[in-house]
């Protein structure tokens, strides 16, 4: 029983990170219909910027907001300098859907190479904001540590803030309208291009939060978030790609599922299992387990 609960707790912590990454992918997919492979690059660049702040100040809590703001700016720049232009230039025919996606794949490679040029390829330790020694109850120490609790709490807060923005504010209404029906949004006077850029900025900040939360439990390298991108995609697909709640729930389902595979089956099966979940979901329910009924084109 104790082992079971420990596995769930660790799964929730891992799933939170997947959920954040999925949120970053869903925000971009909803607003621009682009599957953003560059998200892993944007997140790693933001995390390296946070790393620079830590190496100068030794203060994680200063690095955190700097990384988040950098993530938002990087996201906005990717949209303005690349995606917006691509979507306008390749707006018809078979290339319209695929060209921006391939461009994000190219951008991922480019950002990783630039990060490698600036900081080198070696694995770096990242300062822990709180300890990674598990909580102790009496004589038992559980695997779930303050760092895991921090990850869960911050993820919850981020999700809550995004949910409030989307459901309760005019900006959220503009974001949803621009995502669902950009033409009607325009004809209602909404600046859809600007709104989309804000969507990319939000996505960039969510990816940066995922990066700066997970890196202390792992290590930092130019490609250290690549697997997170895959997990984020799996979580987003489980959640149906469209909804923020879906991203969160998809992340938790994947996180807990992987934790059980790791704990009860074999630690070498975790990532094959993630891909198996991805393919199974796509085969059985392509719209996602909690996807919307309607398929949309715009």
């Amino acid at each position: 029983m104790e082992r079971f609960i420990n596995t769930i707790l660790i799964g929730i912590s891992g799933g939170s990170i997947y959920g954040l990454m999925a949120l970053a992918l869903v925000l971009v997919w909803r607003s621009t219909r682009v599957v953003n492979f560059a998200q892993a690059g944007q997140a790693i660049l933001s995390t390296y910027i946070g790393y620079v702040v830590i190496s100068h100040t030794n203060n994680y809590w200063l690095a955190f907001p700097v990384a988040v703001i950098s993530g938002a700016l990087i996201g906005a720049l990717v949209d303005i300098l690349l995606i917006r232009i691509m979507v306008k230039r390749a707006h018809q025919g078979p290339v319209a859907a695929i060209a921006p996606v391939i461009a994000t794949l190219g951008l991922l490679g480019l950002i990783r190479a630039v990060v490698g040029l600036i900081w080198g390829g070696d694995l770096r330790q990242f300062k822990l904001p709180v300890t990674n020694h598990g909580f102790t109850f009496g004589h038992t120490t559980i695997p779930f540590a303050p760092i895991n609790l921090l990850i869960v709490v911050i993820t919850f807060l981020v999700m809550l803030i995004f949910a409030l923005i989307f459901q309760r504010t005019n900006l959220g209404l503009a974001l949803r309208a621009s995502a669902y029906q950009p033409e009607i949004a325009r004809l209602s006077g909404i600046r859809v291009d600007l709104t989309r850029t804000i969507g990319w900025a939000f996505a960039g900040s969510a990816g940066a939060i995922a990066g700066i939360l997970v890196t202390p439990t792992n290590y930092l390298a130019p490609n250290s978030l690549d697997l997170l991108l895959v997990s984020g995609f799996v979580a987003a697909v489980i959640g149906g790609l469209e909804s923020l709640v879906g991203a969160a729930v998809g992340g938790l389902i994947l996180g807990i599922g992987l934790a059980f595979v790791l704990e009860y089956v074999s630690s070498s099966l975790a990532f094959p299992a993630a891909f198996m979940v991805l393919i199974a979901v796509l085969l059985v329910k392509p719209a996602g387990l909690i996807g919307s009924k309607r398929s949309r084109n715009a």
Partner: protein
Amino acid sequence: MSGLVITNLEVNHGAIRAVRNLSFTVESGQLAAVIGANGAGKTTLLRALSGLKHVHAGNATWHETSIINKKPENLVRSGIVHVSDGKAVIPELSVKENLALSGIWRKDKKDVARATTEVLDLFPILAARLSQSADSLSGGERQMLAIGRALIARPSLLLLDEPSLGLAPLIIEQIFSAINSLRHTYDLTVLLVEQNATSALQIADIGIIINLGELVTVGPSHSLLNDPALRAAYLGY
């Protein structure tokens, strides 16, 4: 003096020149019905006027200011509001959110509230459905919602694309009488694109008949309604 002045307008739809050398004038405060068969270029004309389509040549001015090749959202903000066809609502949003869309960028929030109240008085059925998703509305209710949302932007020029499309005759009558009353209430200039020629011409001041993108004739709507040759050729009876 003049409201909407269109001169030698040329607009492509895909590879086809859908609007050719089109010129006409709608005086401020008039309701003009644009009549023509399917494929006559009516929708392309409206989309060009609301900034959704690129204008190849010619010009269109509203109160002496050119409105061609501008961003749709900027045209809306300057009072030119297009209600596109297909019951232009966002089904994923609630009725209230659909209405709120054209108020969120407006500075005068008191007037947004006032406009919203006016719309709900004009279409009481929407008031009863505020928190429902727009997806649950009937075709007629969606059209009311789309027109209502346009009104909250406080338009001076209203571009309506086939508001009667797919609606039952009784609902069409309701929609047309609403259009007729609101244009007097708000002193609107209206460009109404319709295949339902008779209903449109009955509330219109002038009729503009186009065919294959070109102007056939423009004149007072009552004389168009009574012209046997035109009736046979374009009005279908």
